[in-house]
């Protein structure tokens, strides 16, 4: 994992925040993953057991969390592609465009997920 970029200058400050977002989103996704799997693994006990577990997802707070996780997953994805391009690609510098792209793509997936979730309610 990369060391945190230095906190001086505007471009470096943006890179620092990209580092923070990448790390915090990764941490939240890592904490969520065992819960996600535990819930879905109820499928092994049959459809009724899985539905029983999925009842949790009817809570508004859980729906909000699902949306937040989709946004965080997208931020982590695009931010991660940026890091791989910096480390393995022929590119140099902070690749600030990818940081901007991660915000817009995450906003896009977040909107699509939320819209599709709400049209079914």
């Amino acid at each position: 994992m990369r060391a945190a970029p230095r906190r001086s200058g505007r471009a470096q400050s943006i890179a620092y925040w990209a580092f923070v977002v990448h790390r915090v989103s990764g941490l939240v996704l890592a904490l969520f993953l065992p819960i996600h799997f535990l819930l879905l693994s109820q499928a092994i006990r049959g459809e009724a057991a899985l539905d029983n577990a999925l009842a949790l997802t009817e809570l508004p707070l859980v729906k909000f969390a699902e949306w937040g996780l989709v946004v965080l997953l997208t931020l982590h994805l695009v931010g991660g592609i940026r890091l791989i391009l910096i480390e393995f690609g022929p590119w140099r510098g902070q690749r600030s465009g990818w940081i901007t792209a991660s915000v817009f793509v995450a906003a896009g997936t977040g909107f699509l997920f939320l819209y599709n979730m709400l049209v079914t309610v």
Partner: protein
């Protein structure tokens, strides 16, 4: 290079390789989620897509294994830097997390196919 240095280099390498694989898995997973959520989150909806679907099973089993490589390495680094855990303690934590991800993840995949 010290044995700890070699371990760090290996962790760095494995995290990047798993990240490249995960990028593809995550893009597909995001598309599936955005489409699937239209029909609501129910066991019937999930099973209608997954039961008897071998391609789905292989895709998500590999997704789980890539997560089991990628996630524990990140958590080990965070627990060292932010929680001040020793390299040995964070390595143990990472191994335990990898085991949890593999067991729960593959159980979930097995359950829905």
């Amino acid at each position: 290079m010290s044995s700890q240095g070699i371990a760090q280099a290996k962790a760095w390498y494995w995290q990047r390789i798993s990240a490249m694989v995960l990028a593809l898995f995550v893009i597909v997973h995001l598309v599936i989620m955005i489409i699937a959520i239209r029909d609501g989150l129910t066991a019937a909806e999930i099973f209608s897509r997954t039961k008897g679907n071998l391609a789905f099973g292989i895709f998500y089993a590999l997704f789980v294994l890539a997560c089991a490589v990628h996630v524990p390495i990140g958590i080990a680094k965070i627990s060292e830097e932010w929680l001040g855990l020793s390299a040995a303690a964070s390595s143990l934590l990472a191994k335990a997390l990898a085991l949890i991800i593999v067991v729960l993840g593959l159980t979930a995949v097995w359950g829905v196919i």
